[in-house]
C-alpha cells in the first residue's frame, strides 16, 4: 500500500494518512464501546468486593479499598453453593456426553446408512426445530411426571441421550463431508458399521463433537426454565435456579453477596470461553443460529 501511494499520487502519502486517521477513529470507537460492554462486569466485580454500607454510597466507589474478599465466602455460605454447583455439573456433563454420543450415532444413520423413509424422517427432524418450546412444555411435564422424574435432575439430562434435532442436523452435515471411500475401505477390511463409526468417523468428527459438547455445557449451565419446571426440592436446585431463589428471597438488599454469587456463576463460563473461544466462534458461524 505504502509503495503504491508513493508512486501513484502526487500528494505524497496522502492516502496513507487518510487511512491511518480512519483506523485510529475506528480503534477509539471500538475501544469506547468495549468499555460500555465491560461495564456491567466491572460493576459486578466492584460491588462484590464492597462491604454492604459501601454498596449504598453515592457517588459510588469503583475500586473498593480494602477489597472485601470475605463476601465470596459469605455468598458461598448464604446459598448452598457447592451443592448447587455439583447438581449443575451433573446436568452439564451427563447431558453433554449424552448428546454427543446419541446425536453422532443418529447422524451416522442419516448420513451413511440406507433405509426406507430416511429422507422423510430427516425432513421431519429438521422441521421440528421450528416448534417453540412452550408448545411442548406442558405435555413434556406430564411425561416426566408419569415417569416419576419430577423433583429429580433426570428431566434435565436424560432427553440428551436420545439425540437432539439440531445436533443431529449439524453432525450429519459434517459427516457428509467425509469421503465415502474411507468408509468403503474400512468395510472391505471387514469392519462392522459400529467399528467404522467408532474408529473412523468419530475421530474425524472431533471438531464438531467439541462444538456440540461445549454448547451443550454452556446451554445447560445457563438454563433457567428447565430447572424451574422440574426441580421442586431445594437440594436438587442448579446454580441458575438457586441464584434466582436467593435473589427473590432476600428481596434485593445484600447486593455485595448477590454480585459475589453472580461472579462465581459466571466464572466457569468465562473460563470455558477463554479456552474454547475458537470452537465457540466456529460453532456459531457453522450454524448461523442462536443458542
Amino acid at each position: 500500500m505504502a509503495t503504491k501511494t508513493k508512486s501513484d499520487t502526487p500528494f505524497f502519502g496522502r492516502k496513507q494518512v487518510q487511512e491511518n486517521f480512519l483506523q485510529a477513529t475506528i480503534f477509539i470507537g471500538l475501544g469506547l464501546l468495549s468499555v460500555l460492554f465491560l461495564l456491567p462486569f466491572l460493576w459486578m466485580v466492584s460491588t462484590s468486593l464492597k462491604p454492604i454500607e459501601e454498596t449504598m454510597k453515592m457517588p459510588p466507589t469503583f475500586i473498593p479499598r480494602p477489597a472485601h474478599w470475605r463476601n465470596y465466602l459469605d455468598a458461598v455460605k448464604a446459598i448452598p453453593f457447592f451443592l448447587y454447583a455439583s447438581n449443575t455439573v451433573i446436568v452439564c456433563v451427563l447431558g453433554a456426553a449424552g448428546t454427543m454420543v446419541s446425536s453422532a450415532m443418529v447422524a451416522y444413520g442419516f448420513a451413511f446408512l440406507r433405509w426406507p423413509g430416511r429422507n422423510v424422517f430427516f425432513w421431519l427432524t429438521v422441521s421440528t426445530m421450528m416448534v417453540p418450546f412452550p408448545v411442548i412444555m406442558v405435555p413434556l411435564y406430564s411425561v416426566f411426571r408419569s415417569l416419576g422424574m419430577i423433583g429429580t435432575l433426570m428431566p434435565l439430562w436424560l432427553p440428551a441421550w436420545f439425540g437432539s434435532a439440531w445436533n443431529i442436523f449439524l453432525m450429519r452435515q459434517f459427516f457428509l463431508g467425509i469421503p465415502k471411500d474411507l468408509l468403503d475401505a474400512a468395510r472391505i477390511d471387514g469392519c462392522t458399521e459400529w467399528q467404522i463409526f467408532w474408529r473412523v468417523v468419530l475421530p474425524l468428527a472431533k471438531p464438531v463433537l467439541i462444538v456440540v459438547g461445549l454448547f451443550h455445557v454452556i446451554w445447560a449451565w445457563n438454563d433457567f426454565l428447565g430447572p424451574l419446571l422440574y426441580l421442586t426440592r431445594q437440594e436438587t436446585y442448579t446454580l441458575s435456579l438457586g441464584l434466582q431463589f436467593f435473589q427473590s428471597q432476600q428481596g434485593g438488599t445484600e447486593w455485595h453477596l448477590l454480585m459475589a454469587a453472580s461472579s462465581l456463576v459466571i466464572l466457569p463460563v468465562l473460563i470455558l470461553f477463554l479456552f474454547g473461544q475458537r470452537a465457540l466462534i466456529r460453532g456459531i458461524t457453522m450454524t448461523g443460529f442462536k443458542m
Partner: protein, 293 residues
C-alpha cells in the same frame, strides 16, 4: 445382496433407534398431546376433558392475554431491529478494524454467554434507581434517571436496552459473513468509483442478505418466546407493564394449573410464528440475494 441389505437394516436399528424414541417421546407426542389438550379442560392432576374451542374462546375475552401479547409485540418491534442494527454496525466496525480485532470481538461476544439469571441480577443492580450505575452516569450529565424497573413507563425500555448487551452472537455471525464476501466484488466496485459507504450498502449488504434474513427469522422465533429475563427482573410488573406472553402462559400452566388454557396459548403463539415466518419468506424473495440465482 439381500444379506447386505438385511445387515444395513440391522445397523440402522442400532444407530437410529435412540432418536426414534427421543423424537417420539420428547417431541412428536408432546406436540400432538399439546394440540389435544388445547381443546380440553386439563390440570395435570386429573384426566383431560374435551371442551372444544372453549379455551380459545375464553382467551379472546381475557384482557391479560391481550396485554401480554401486546407487550411481547412491542418488545419484539424494538428489540429485534435495534439488536440487528447494533450487531450489523459493530460487525462492520470490527471488519474494518486493523488493530485488536479479535480482542474487541471477544469483548462483544462474551456477554451473550453469561447465564440469564446472573445477567438479570447484574442488570437489576445496574438499573437500581438510587444506587445503580446507570442513574449515576445520568446524574453526571445533570439528568435525574427514573427508577427504571419499578416505573411502568420505563420498565419495557430498560429491558430492550439491556437486550443490546447480548448481541454478541449476531456480531460473530455477521463478521464471519463479511469475510465471505469475495474481494473481487469490492475491487470491481472501486473501479466504478464506489465510496466506502456505497461499497457497504451496494456490495456487502446485498451479498450477506441471506444471513441477515436468517438472523431475522431466528430472531422473531426467539424474541416472541422471551421468558427468563422479565420473569427474574420484573416478574411481569410494574402493573403488568412487562408481562410477556410466555410468562402468562407459564403462570396459567404451573401456577393456576390451567394447562389446557396454556396449551391453547402455546398453539396461538406457534401459529403467529408460522404466519410471521411465512410472510417474511414471501416478502424476502424480492430482497434477499442468493448466490448463483
Amino acid at each position: 445382496m439381500k444379506g447386505i441389505m438385511k445387515d444395513e437394516m440391522k445397523w440402522t436399528g442400532v444407530f437410529v433407534s435412540p432418536w426414534v424414541v427421543g423424537f417420539g417421546v420428547f417431541l412428536a407426542f408432546p406436540v400432538v398431546a399439546s394440540l389435544f389438550y388445547s381443546f380440553c379442560d386439563y390440570s395435570v392432576l386429573s384426566k383431560p376433558v374435551w371442551i372444544g374451542f372453549g379455551n380459545y374462546v375464553d382467551l379472546m375475552d381475557d384482557d391479560v392475554f391481550w396485554i401480554s401479547l401486546k407487550n411481547t409485540f412491542v418488545f419484539a418491534l424494538f428489540a429485534l431491529p435495534l439488536g440487528m442494527i447494533t450487531s450489523l454496525g459493530l460487525a462492520a466496525l470490527l471488519h474494518a478494524c486493523a488493530l485488536g480485532k479479535s480482542t474487541f470481538r471477544a469483548i462483544f461476544f462474551l456477554p451473550s454467554l453469561v447465564p440469564v439469571v446472573a445477567n438479570a441480577i447484574v442488570w437489576i443492580w445496574m438499573f437500581n434507581g438510587e444506587y445503580g450505575l446507570l442513574n449515576y452516569g445520568l446524574s453526571m450529565v445533570g439528568q435525574q434517571g427514573p427508577n427504571w424497573l419499578q416505573d411502568p413507563r420505563w420498565a419495557m425500555s430498560a429491558l430492550v436496552f439491556m437486550g443490546l448487551w447480548g448481541v454478541g452472537q449476531s456480531i460473530v455471525i455477521f463478521l464471519a459473513s463479511f469475510q465471505e464476501v469475495p474481494v473481487e466484488m469490492y475491487e470491481a466496485a472501486e473501479l466504478d468509483g464506489a465510496s466506502l459507504w456505497q461499497k457497504f450498502w451496494r456490495v456487502t449488504i446485498p451479498l450477506i442478505s441471506p444471513v441477515i434474513f436468517f438472523q431475522f427469522i431466528t430472531g422473531i422465533i426467539g424474541v416472541l418466546q422471551v421468558f427468563a429475563m422479565p420473569y427474574i427482573m420484573t416478574a411481569g410488573g410494574p402493573a403488568r407493564a412487562t408481562l410477556f406472553y410466555s410468562m402468562y402462559l407459564y403462570d396459567n400452566a404451573f401456577r393456576y394449573l390451567k394447562m389446557g388454557y396454556a396449551c391453547a396459548m402455546a398453539w396461538i403463539l406457534f401459529m403467529i410464528i408460522l404466519v410471521l415466518t411465512w410472510t417474511a419468506v414471501t416478502v424476502s424473495k424480492k430482497y434477499v440475494h442468493y448466490q448463483g440465482q
